[in-house]
């Protein structure tokens, strides 16, 4: 077992475990923290895949900005106590079972997908994940979506103002 494999399995285990902890934590703050752990694990995977730029962005944007925002909101609402009323157990079970079914179905498909049988993701090697290459592509081929996403931000901004502003 190479280091990469060990790291892969470790990060995967961490990600899944943290993800499950997000679900089961009764305290929303804990959920947030576990989610941040998931993001770290995923960033680890990015590094394994040599997608350095995304690894960093993931940490900055998700773990840094977005999750902090979540945390703020939760704090603001004073939800740190275990205040969330529990769902009916049957509903929970139904949710879990149907989510499980979803997973099963997809996994069974992937097992049958012969074209995925012997393919591997290239680890460590390859420089497409480097910021230089990504930047080049972003500002040449993908400049239109890049610009258009500004509209998205504009509307989000306007939206936040409209929603948040006191009348």
């Amino acid at each position: 077992m190479s280091t990469t494999e060990i790291l892969f399995f470790f990060l995967s285990a961490l990600a899944i475990f943290s993800a499950i902890m997000v679900l089961v934590s009764k305290n929303p703050v804990h959920s947030v923290l576990w989610l941040i752990a998931v993001f770290f694990a995923i960033s680890g995977h990015y590094i394994l895949l040599n997608a350095q730029f995304l690894a960093i962005v993931n940490l900055i944007v998700y773990a840094g900005a977005i999750m902090v925002l979540f945390l703020f909101v939760i704090m603001l609402m004073n939800l740190n106590a275990e205040t969330e009323p529990q769902k009916h157990v049957w509903m929970k079970l139904a949710g879990a079972v149907s989510g499980g079914c979803f997973l099963m179905v997809l996994v069974s498909l992937v097992r049958q997908a012969t074209d995925m049988q012997h393919k591997t993701a290239l680890m460590k090697d390859g420089n497409i994940g480097l910021i230089k290459n990504l930047g080049k592509a972003l500002f040449s081929d993908y400049v239109v979506p890049f610009e258009i996403s500004s509209v998205l931000f504009l509307s989000a901004m306007v939206g936040a103002v409209v929603i948040g502003k006191k009348e």
Partner: protein
Amino acid sequence: MPIQYYIYLCLALFSIGIIGVLTRRNAIIVFMCVELMLNAVNLLLVAFSKMHYGLAIGANPETTVGIDGQLFVFFIMVVAAAEVSVGLAIIVMMYRNTHSVDINFLNRLKN
């Protein structure tokens, strides 16, 4: 690394996200689970990007195949950020009016 491992991992994370959406009542947690789903997709896209890259590099060492996958991830993050800002604003607005973020209380509109 066999690509299937990545697929399984991402599907697992994705499904956990779905299960979270289905089982939790706190709107913020539900939203967080959605973010989890998005991240699962991100990881999958990166893995696929590297897979395609790996397949293409044999023929052409200078290839940039797969870079679009990683860029897509970038755009997903952009969108996610925008969505979060709006989403949290809405949740806060809801909280201001009802002092609750329990989605089970969202039942004035039905039938």
